[in-house]
């Protein structure tokens, strides 16, 4: 997979920009950071489709030892017969670019960091479309990741084991459940033969809406 450009508007939003013109010198820095990132990253993803089964505590992913626990993932996958597990990454190149900037050029480090955050979203969007095209004419939920709602972050380790994400795209997880390379994402996409109600696609129906960190930062996880 290759990205030709990065989502600047989104990146500036992450930097706290609240509208208005971006100053020329900041745009020039963003040009440099974007060029460096595009040259350094190797966006990649792995995915697999599994049958799923509803259990007492959540959803079990058939044929694996992985159980997706909690009310939110159960609700998210309601009516789905299968799910795709995916893991996407910008690769370690993004980490290296940001780190090199951090020692002497913090402004570029911050800009590169936010551009990279925007980039991994772009990668996930492309991955999602490609997965849907490969699986075929079904109905799909939006991406739901460990840490959203009450789906435990603690699943990360098993999640990447099941996908063999370290072997296949170089993604690992630390003891504190941080994915490394830093700009990496794991997600579940529900697959259904029947239409999926729109009601499930936003913060309003999420039981974490008061405390969700994602929401606190002005983002939302799908929909």
């Amino acid at each position: 997979m290759q990205l030709d450009s990065l989502n600047r508007a989104e990146a500036f939003r992450y930097m706290g920009h609240k509208g208005g013109e971006i100053p020329e010198n900041i745009n020039a820095l963003a040009d440099e950071c974007e060029g460096k990132l595009l040259a350094a990253i190797r966006p990649n993803y792995v995915w697999r489709v599994f049958d799923i089964e509803k259990t007492g505590g959540g959803i079990s992913v058939s044929g694996t030892s992985l159980a997706l626990t909690g009310n939110d993932i159960t609700e998210h996958l309601r009516g789905c017969e299968r799910c795709a597990l995916m893991c996407a990454t910008l690769s370690i190149g993004a980490d290296s670019v940001i780190r090199a900037y951090e020692s002497a050029e913090m402004e570029k480090a911050v800009i590169a960091d936010c551009l990279a955050s925007a980039a991994i979203e772009q990668v996930c969007d492309i991955a999602e479309r490609e997965i849907q095209a490969a699986v075929g004419d079904y109905h799909y939920t939006w991406r739901f990741s460990p840490g959203y709602g009450d789906l435990p972050l603690g699943l990360q380790r098993q999640f990447i084991e099941v996908l063999q994400a370290q072997k296949r795209i170089g993604v690992t997880v630390t003891d504190s459940l941080i994915l490394i390379p830093r700009k990496s994402v794991t997600a579940v996409i529900g697959i259904s033969t029947r239409e999926i109600s729109k009601g499930r696609q936003g913060c309003s129906s999420c039981n974490m809406r008061e405390t969700c960190q994602f929401r606190k930062n002005g983002k939302h996880c799908g929909g």
């Binding site: 489709v49 090199a100 913090m106 480090a109 830093r182």
Partner: protein
Amino acid sequence: MDFNTLLNKEFICLDGGMGTMLQARGLKPGETPEAWNLENPQKLIDVHKEYIAAGADIIYANTFGANRYKLEHCGYSVERVIRAGILNAKRAVSESVNPNALVALDIGPIGQLLEPTGTLTFEEAYDIYKEQVTAGREADVIVFETMTDLYELKAAVLAAKENSSLPIICTMTFEENMRTFTGCAVSSMALTLEGLGVDAIGINCSLGPEELFPIAEELCKWTTLPVVLKPNAGLPDPVTNQYSLSPKRFAELMEKFVSLGVKIFGGCCGTNPEFIREVSAMLKTRKFSPRNVTILAACCSASKTVEINRPRIIGERINPTGKKRFKEALLANDIDYILGQAIEQVRGGADILDINVGLPGIDEGAMMVRAVKAVQGVVDEPLQLDSTIPEVLEKALRVYNGKPIVNSVNGEEKSLQSVLPLVKKYGAAVVGLCLDENGIPKTAEGRFNIAKKILDRAESFGIRREDVYIDCLTLTVSAEQTAAMETLNALRRVKNELRLKTVLGVSNISFGLPQRVIVTQNFLTMALAYGLDLPIINPNVPEMTAAVRAFNVLSCHDENSMEYVRCYGNTESAASPAPANTEITLDYALANGLKSEGAKITEKLLETTDAMDIINKILIPALDKTGAEFESGKIFLPQLILSAGVAQSCFEVIKNHLAKTGTKSVSKGKIIVATVKGDIHDIGKNIVKVLLENYGYDVIDLGKDVDYQAVVDCAIENDVHLVGLSALMTTTLGSMEKTIKLLRENNVDCKVMVGGAVLTPEYAAKIGADYYAKDAKESCDIAKRVFEEFYPQG
């Protein structure tokens, strides 16, 4: 039978995939396969026997992920799981058709990335591998496979070499761009591992044989060791999880590698005994074609190999000798200063960086380790490890990721005896200085003789001729005019008669003369014409890099003058948006993010203005102004940081000035900043650091993933009264709480401020912090208050 005897065979056949075989027998993805060593031994014995029956000479025990990190959740110890795994394999051999088959202790990546991207330290990785190597002592050979991080693999190889005498096979996993996920190049892998003395190297996993061909081709160019190939059965289908190649097709594709000179064949993911049977049958019809390769002089980092086949610039700036500001930075443990020097030299044109941190009053070994780890984390260029103390060299050699140059050994017996074994053990190249017990010989003849002695001794230690670089030593021409030609004549003889690469620090030549750069540049050009390969220079002096680049054009090293044109063809530099024809002011530079202009203006101001006046009357008010604009939303984060960056470059000029004039800089107080244990998000913390430094505080940056006790120790040792802690994950807030608790338990007389996206003022109060800072600007306000109210003495 042992591995070396096995190497006498035409080819060696390895086994195939284990995961797929176990999953066919009921193992679920996500379960710990190694637990089956104890829970389902018979199933493993059966799999091993099938592979031996199919023709495998070496079977890999089911120990790939049996490390303490991956086994943590399964309830069995590393020792038990590995011993059982080896035992199963040994039993399979004894019950099989080939009782001579060997059993490999199979070891994969730990599952966590190493520093600086990850949190695992090199030393921890070594320890984890040591445990596995020790537990697997009953095996016949050790295999490290599916490795993507050369640094991790180096820790593994050292752990094996130092705790076992078994032969070692290493295979790494490459992508189609010829690199591993961590950016390791094929040449770097080969140079580093052959240097460390492993027994065979190769490629496994990731792709099918077809895609791996160019990678194997490249590897065969870079190593004299037996080459291993263990590809996947093509690529997997995400829906069915089936691999694309049939056993027959797989073997057909593998046959092509015979002509490359590959010796050892097997299969990885998606292969089964049927694949191995086909491969083994194919190999029986072929003859091994030995490779005749000579590995030329080269050094490397994990991501970049520098061949010494044309003049290459070694940057000399990371060295405190004669540099007051550098000494200050070392004493203050200011690693960012060193990183700045590294990056600047690479931009200037350095191919290799010399690292010397020797200074009385500091722990040179510890500093060297920190500097090497930090510098190799931000630049791709290989390093030259420079110390007069063998113990320091060894510490640096251990943690260096790649094949470095050691600077240096000389003709003295003591030096030869202590340095050369290190060079051999860690597979480095070495600089040999033409001096001995009697000092520097006056004549070219004398220096040539020492060079020859160093070469002979190096070869007797098993060091290759290509890895010995000779320094014929530059003397000051104003003191001894005839010496310059003696150096050059010695250099020419070393190069032509001994066929060795040459290295030379040239700056000394012009000491004591006016317009030094004229003499130095011309001496450099002469030396290059006499055969100098590795000039040690300051690459930031344009005349010096220009001399090398011009030489490369004139000597046909720079084909079509490509590099020269790239460097000098576009002399119009990117114009900064400075107002035309008007003198820009410091205020303007600060507001517009013009770093180098800010530094220049500061330099000029220092001629007429007191340093403290510049700080208090210009810089601080300017910072206050941007701070207020940030708070009111008039500017946003990158603008705030940019103007802080300008101020930082102004402060750097002032610090240099104060260091030169011997004035002690005035500190407003010491502050520790740290990202807490388990957390690696340090951008926020680094922003805070820059702003605090601008306001005149001495900031001790403990980095990320900082141990609780390290914060306490540092605060006590340095008498620090304000500690800033950062955490960005809900999972690491606990570490923040523990750090604060430990500070309190140790009665450290300090205030604690905390910040980070997941924190709230309420939570900050709950975990015992004194202050919550919502952003970097507020942390400066807090610091001001703390030192004014509680610690006015700083």
